[in-house]
Amino acid sequence: MGESPMSQSPLHRPALHESAYRHVSGAALYVDDLPPPKGMLHGQVLSSPVARGRIKQLDVSGARAIPGVLAVLTAQDIPGHNQIGPALPDEPLLAENEVFCVGQAVALVVAETPEACRKALAAVKVEYEELKPILTIPEAEAANAFIGAPHVIRRGDVDAAFKDAALILEGESECGGQDHFYLETHAALATPLENGTWHIVSSTQHPSEVQAKVAEILHTPRSAVVVECPRMGGGFGGKETQAAHFAALAALGAHHTRRPVKVWLNRDQDMITTGKRHPFLTRYRAAFAADGTILGLRARVTANGGWSADLSLAILDRALFHIDNCYYLPAVHLEGYVARTNLPSNTAFRGFGGPQGMLVIEEIMSRAAERLKLDPAELRRRNFYGDAPRNVAPYTQVVKDNRMPRICDELLASSEYTKRKAAVEQFNATHKHVKRGIAFSPVKFGISFTMTMLNQAGALVLVYADGSVQMNHGGTEMGQGLHSKMLAVCAHELGVPVESIRVMNTATDKVPNTSATAASSGSDLNGQAVKEACHTIRERMRPIAAKLLGLHNGDADKIVFENGRVFLPGTDKETTFEKVAAAAYVAQVSLSSTGYYRTPGIGYDRAAGKGTPFYYFAYGAAVCEVELNALTGEHRVLRADVLHDVGDSLIPTIDRGQVEGAFIQGLGWLTCEEVLFDAKGRLLTHSPSTYKIPAVGEAPEDFRVSLLERAPQDGVIHGSKAVGEPPLMLAIGVIGALRHAVGAFADAGTEVELRLPATPESILRAVEHAKATRVAKTAARPSTVVAAT
């Protein structure tokens, strides 16, 4: 344990989700569930039907004349800056003269009913001059269309590495996008209050940014805008920056009508107009020694950013920071680019580029094992970070506390990898159309916002004279259990039962200047802030308690606050938290406090490609087994074993849920979820009838998730570690297992060609390719070269 817990502390114990009973009864309120304020109007967005074009004519007069319509607003109706870009000012809220993607907002209609909104949308006359859109990364490269400066990370002599190589792999690695498919679509409600002030309720991971953007759009100070987030029906990164658009539009509508305005997207609108996980294209060249040790890697990594920057540059950075995964790369030359295309602006999604970077090295490792006929788990193990000098990441951060060797040993043993792999080989030898595969897949994930200043958080804790508590912190609840964890931290620190604490809706008038609840950092950052606030209040209460218990001041430090009791151990001196709170009030002692935290000791120089962007690394690994059918390309995950490192878990039941859920979400990205656009940049997969996230049957029948034991993390809240994103990448093990199964249709030594996502069609193509290599026995693929040694 990171700190010795008090016996009644809720820390490190199983707990239910704090909202569970409200979830199951329907009492949990989301933005669209709130009772409508008096006179509330509906706002709907007119969005561009073309991917790239000039607006030749925009006539809203007909729409304004429709009964029930109160406003039809365009860019010129914005009182402040028509700018919503979170990182770079390249994203107008409403289009001006040009449109850059299908779904880009052109106008806002505000009406008394959704029906009137729809009629008004149909009545707006817009004429576009269509231009040829840029949709793919190669198209953007041909047009030299990029966002921001390239990011280069170099180390060692890469050219020399290739001279010494026994095996050189060269190729392209691609991965597709992923829709967040939070069950709750984007929603915001803006209410004008007196004296030019605003109350905004938003389904957002980033209330402070919503506040800032609304203030800029309305040309008003941030102090005039309060943004509140009750909870989200899922976020996954999709509500980190892009919730601001809809809140700003609602505020704009409310500004012009002086009435509350709600903007809510239906599923199709949500999927068509918002950004997704970035597709990546990586061209790589990798050098290996004959024993499977990687000697060098050259990679040009490009993300499809969509039409504006959004967070693409930071996402690219994280992809580069994870192209090593948990492997020591002696010589590297990495170049990263963000392509500017005419797609909706791609954005944060659980993993934030990390999964895309990690996929590259995992594909390379798999191909190397296939070519060298080595066990893929063994080849990976040989490449793990180790002792100095094999403990430095390409960007020069020292990899401390490397838990991967331990995790690998424990998981391979507990999952019986070796024995089961032999059984799989046996199965494959005796089955013609059905093959199985098994694979080990490790994950190392850097924890911290890579933009260093974001690593700060605040809290505000209020104790009332009856001993009840309100807790505010800067993080938002999207299902991940952050509030449950903060309750445990608060209850532990104040020494009160969890039931006596109320978690308040996240609001910008309680904690200012917060960072997004993102980067898996929610409990690390906010937990420390909550802890500090509670500590301050408890220490103020201590002398009051001493006086109540009739103790000398010298004994005050020995008083224990625990589960509502306040007592001196070993004596009968005891009172209650409630009585101490009441006494503190009478004694004119402040019972509220803020808390604040910033992560120490991190920083990164992007221009130099050097630094320590991460406070620490989270680790995990999976062993996955699959079965596939070579007639249809269908597959099923038969079993998945996961061992994940969450340090000393704040709440193990919550963390297990994060691990399981992230795994399945990663599985969806890699297998059944396929984002498809047509040649004109129109999304073809914009509802669950065409875009398939995993359903219950995709969950492995045998799913064994364990948390690494006895693994406290120094310097993190109560020895815990971040959990939100890292386990998503465990699902890469399913791809490894599929490669193994597909490879069973080819001769040993053949590389598997499996495109992602591994849909039945993709798998069938891979199987056909594998069979063809056996038949044709062609020379090495043109893109792959075996060096003469």
């Binding site: 239910l16 989700h17 569970a20 009973y21 199951v24 009864s25 329907g26 989301y30 669209d32 569930d33 029906e115 967040h180 498919f181 939070y182 069950l183 709750e184 679509t185 909870r231 989200m232 029906g233 899922g234 996954f236 239906n266 599923r267 199965f427 089955h431 013609k432 159309h433 059905v434 299902g479 991940q480 259990g481 059918n629 007639l631 249809t632 390309g633 597959h635 099923r636 297990r656 849920g657 399981e660 859920g661 399945i664 059944c672 073809l684 509802s687 669950p688 065409t690 996230i693 995993p694 359903a695 219950v696 049957g697 969950a699 799913f703 998730v705 849909t759 039945p760 069609e761 069938l764």
Partner: protein, 486 residues
């Protein structure tokens, strides 16, 4: 004019002026203020809006059925009982479905949760959830983006079939069948639910332009996705005899047009294994609880999954109007893309499926990006009869997703007949599928994939039926075609 009248969470509600195309979901959230029920997609593909309706089961007895409230138009509730997530706790105590989900940590963000709870609610009162695949089937219509499903599965397993001793169980004993008779008008929109075949024939004769609806799993999409008004709707749901299923003396199975897919699934397990097999991965439980065989056929979609298997079984359809009844072989029912042989004033009253001959091999297949709750890239139903000498005497190969309508593969069939039923025959015949069909490429699969899979399914059918001529699916199949069991 009648009013819409039904029971909501134990309280009778009456509506006289709402549009008849108002969905139950909208009504719950914005008229009744019952915001526990969520909208996740408005097309029946996510389950967040799931509520329970007291309906009849295959035997006509009362049964709680989970349905997608986004696809239920208010008049479809006439005379029925509806329970939403707010209505299942009793005396302040959570319902067992709620409590077990809480204890399993089966909610994270909570947005899919009310729907999950209501699917579990149905599970509590089902007596036939006796196999693991049925639990998956029960829950596959509820997408959850947070939990990865393990805790939801655990919680469901715990409560399925437990028949809690409560008022919902009592309701199963004494609920009379709902009288759905309705003649409703609001503004220019009209909605009729006749309750006899005669009355239905008369209504259709009077209003040949009317949209015919039953469960609404397809027609309602025009309201929720395309915002159509549907000025005149005639529901066939209120006629009890159209829902009947029976085995006739000659072994023919007669399935009433409005029998729900759930009922058909339960009924066909014994007499028609290929139909039962196709229904396993046909749709979510909620959709199967509302969708009907008649609707699936009349919709005439090229990717309607019922048609291929019924084509292979040589089913025919019974078409009824005020002037009487005629019988049309299913192979002659589909005229062109979304066009059928139904004439104005006519409705499909039943599907007749002859018994599977004793010398037949028969099975059905569906390939989609996701196994559960997906639309097929390719669907197929095969029946091949082989005589004592090992020669094929008849072959019926029905396909969906391969052409503008569900269709038989005539040239391939012809190449099989008269040949010995062996791998070589199948291999030669399979190649003719490229002559029978030129499938399109779309987001569900490329033309190459469809053509390749179609051939492979025939190959797989040959292998699979070697051991068992009419094979059933295992608990958790890796693929639609079962080749090598371990």
């Amino acid at each position: 004019m009648d009013c819409i009248r039904f029971t909501l969470n134990g309280r009778v509600v009456e509506e006289r002026s709402v549009p008849p195309t108002l969905t139950l979901l909208q009504y719950l959230r914005y008229t009744q203020g019952l915001t526990g029920t969520k909208e996740g997609c408005a097309e029946g593909d996510c389950g967040a809006c799931t509520v329970a309706i007291l309906d009849a089961d295959a035997q006509g007895g009362p049964a709680w059925r989970a349905v997608n409230s986004c696809l239920v138009l208010l008049p479809m509730l006439q005379g029925k009982q509806v329970v939403s997530v707010e209505g299942i706790a009793q005396g302040g105590a959570p319902h067992p479905a709620q409590e077990s989900l809480v204890q399993a940590l089966g909610s994270q963000c909570g947005y899919c949760t009310p729907g999950v709870v209501m699917s579990m609610f149905e599970a509590c009162y089902r007596k036939d959830l006796d196999q693991p695949w049925k639990l998956d089937d029960q829950m596959c219509g509820n997408l959850c983006r947070c939990t990865g499903y393990r805790p939801i599965k655990d919680a469901t397993k715990q409560v399925a079939g437990t028949l809690p001793d409560d008022k919902f169980r009592v309701a199963l004993k004494d609920a009379p069948r709902a009288d759905m008779k309705l003649s409703y008008q609001a503004g220019a929109q009209r909605y009729f639910t006749p309750t006899t075949v005669e009355e239905l024939g008369a209504r259709l004769a009077e209003h040949p332009e009317a949209r015919i609806v039953c469960g609404g799993t397809d027609v309602s999409l025009e309201v929720t996705k395309r915002y159509q008004e549907l000025p005149l709707v005639i529901s066939v749901e209120g006629v009890p005899e159209l829902r009947r299923m029976e085995k006739l003396s000659d072994g023919t199975v007669r399935i009433g047009a409005t029998a729900t897919l759930s009922d058909v699934e339960a009924f066909t397990e014994m007499p028609l294994p290929p139909v039962h097999r196709m229904l396993r991965y046909f749709a979510s439980r909620q959709i199967k609880n509302r969708g009907t065989v008649g609707g699936n056929l009349c919709n005439a979609s090229p990717i309607g999954d019922m048609a291929p298997v019924l084509l292979s079984l040589d089913a025919s359809v019974e078409l009824t109007s005020r002037n009487g009844t005629r019988r049309v072989p299913l192979k002659e029912f589909f005229l062109s893309y979304r066009k059928t042989a139904l004439q104005k004033g006519e409705f499909l009253s039943a599907v007749l499926v002859p018994p599977i001959p004793s010398d037949a091999r028969a099975s059905a297949y569906k390939v989609s990006k996701r196994r559960e709750l997906d639309i097929s890239a390719v669907a197929a139903g095969f029946l091949v009869r082989v005589d004592g000498g090992g020669l094929v005497v008849e072959a019926r190969l029905g396909f969906g997703g391969m052409a503008a309508t569900p269709a038989r593969a005539r040239q391939t069939e012809a190449a099989l007949v008269g040949k010995p039923w062996n791998e070589q025959t199948v291999e030669e015949a399979a190649l003719l599928l490229d002559k029978d069909f030129a499938p399109i490429s779309d987001h569900r699969g490329s033309s190459w994939y469809r053509a390749t899979v179609a051939k492979n399914l025939l190959r797989g059918f040959f292998v699979e039926t070697q051991k068992d001529p009419v094979p059933a699916l295992p608990q958790r199949p890796t693929a639609t075609v079962q080749l090598e069991q371990v």
